[in-house]
Symmetry: C2
């Protein structure tokens, strides 16, 4: 049951073609938790600065997110700025201020160390390794990473991959990490690197699972107006792992359903900035959209 | 039942990262027929030069493809040369010699004029209009086109669109024809232009149908080794329309199945050059792959 996430807590400045928000609450650990906590309690490990407004995460605490592993350091909270363009399909980073994240050394509270389900969000592979050393006997380790670490810390990343069960990457990342241009070849090359399974996030084209020589595909929910794509990948991962941790099964039918739930929650997340949509979401709405996914793919 | 296709018959010169073929039989009308004739008889209208080797289409004649509308003119058959790269995901045109196609004026044989199902392959919209004038009372008109006509013959293309029931486009084309960058917005903008439905071909990301406010998605069959993508779109359209013409129904469940059959046949087509794969294909193989499509999308 116990689900642990180690990742960032951030204030984001986001520009879209029609809006701009400043110091909007975000970060991989929070987007993950907002999604996963719809299914199961979540334990968070992360760091914030003394400027952090803890009142903004009270909705997560109410939903069963435990912040005993949230460390407050003197200095400022991590800040990221990005701009979306081309109908939200592309983004550029405007700035990254690591702030307190720069000296972050994840210490896993003792009562978190028996975590069965672990999500290593996109952080330095050296920190991901530090986390793994502190977990006693995990049942499922899911990993996210990015081009920056794939090219910059390849060796350390390979060490993490050896422990990883499922890696979640976008299409560019899976091409880069494997050196294969075709998505199918790339997916098939992953198991040699460690993870038994890979999920490829393809943005507006949905997601693909490769698991024990089987493929599964789910489209992206057809949304006309994406307000803010920030956190789509992490809320997907949160929905996916929250569903699995609740189901306590890792067979293919359960993995498939978990991916559909992850896609569904991600599709809600991008309908508004920050946690505006996930804060008030109801399980009834999620289940209705899962039904629509079925209707749009069954034949 | 009666299915008519008007399109090109070509000799293709194709370069891939690992192979090169010269004067390989191809063209939209033939790829369409090779797929559609697996379900129902097909009537072809097109033109070839005096260099055309008719023995190479005998496998289509045996399968019920009627070539009474194939005109032989003095001069050379249409020739196209293309090069695929980036793991077959991209292509560039090396040359286009219209030859006898340059003076082509489609004349629909009298016994073709009662065609109920009409596929207007990607040719000059002026010729597509000429075809439509000669058809008595079609039940379903499906249209393909390309960027060259979207930008170069917009007015004429709009006239064709007014008569079209379903337009089949790739993702770039649907963005260009509607001026919308997002695929969902673009699909939703199509009905205002005439066609009730649109199928967006997304290459390695599969295909999407938008029909009466409903979406349907099918992935591309996961192939590790695509030998030659030429004719994928036309064999998709052929499988799609052949299935519909046989089913004689145009409701959403039938359209969905037709798209899966189209995707399946296209996935076989790209496994070899020219018609090598579709020439010997068995319905049993097709049905097995359709089952795999179901397995890869059902949850």
């Amino acid at each position: 049951m116990s689900l642990l996430v180690v990742g960032s807590i951030a204030y984001d400045t986001i520009e879209t073609p029609t809006a701009r928000v400043e110091d909007s609450l975000g970060g991989s650990a929070l987007y993950f938790s907002a999604a996963a906590s719809l299914f199961t309690p979540v334990n968070v490990v992360g760091v914030v600065g003394s400027d952090f407004d803890a009142s903004k995460i009270s909705f997560l605490k109410k939903r069963g997110v435990n912040f005993d592993g949230l460390y407050m350091e003197s200095g400022k909270t991590f800040r990221w700025g990005g701009r979306y363009f081309d109908d939200m399909n592309k983004r550029e980073t405007l700035f990254t201020y690591l702030n307190v994240f720069e000296r972050f050394q994840p210490v896993i509270p003792e009562h978190y160390q028996k975590a069965e389900f672990v999500f290593l969000a996109n952080i330095d592979p050296e920190l991901q390794l530090e986390v793994l050393k502190q977990i006693e006997n995990p049942k499922l380790i899911v990993l996210d990473t990015m081009n920056f670490w794939i090219s910059g810390k390849r060796k350390k990343l390979e060490e993490v991959l050896a422990y990883t069960d499922i890696i979640v990457l976008n299409d560019e990342e899976v091409r880069e990490i494997t050196g294969e241009n075709g998505l199918i070849k790339a997916a098939r090359a992953i198991p040699q690197m460690g993870p038994k399974s890979v999920i490829v996030k393809k943005g507006e084209h949905g997601a693909m699972l490769y698991h024990e020589e089987e493929f599964f595909f789910v489209p992206a929910f057809p949304l006309e107006n994406v307000v803010d794509p920030t956190g789509a990948g992490d809320s997907f991962a949160g929905g996916f792992m929250g569903f699995l941790a609740k189901a306590q099964t890792l067979d293919l039918p359960t993995l498939k359903k978990a991916i559909v739930y992850g896609s569904t929650i991600a599709s809600f997340n991008v309908e508004d900035f920050s946690f505006k949509r996930l804060e008030k979401i109801k399980m009834k709405e999620i289940k209705e959209r899962v039904k629509l996914f079925k209707k749009m793919t069954a034949f």
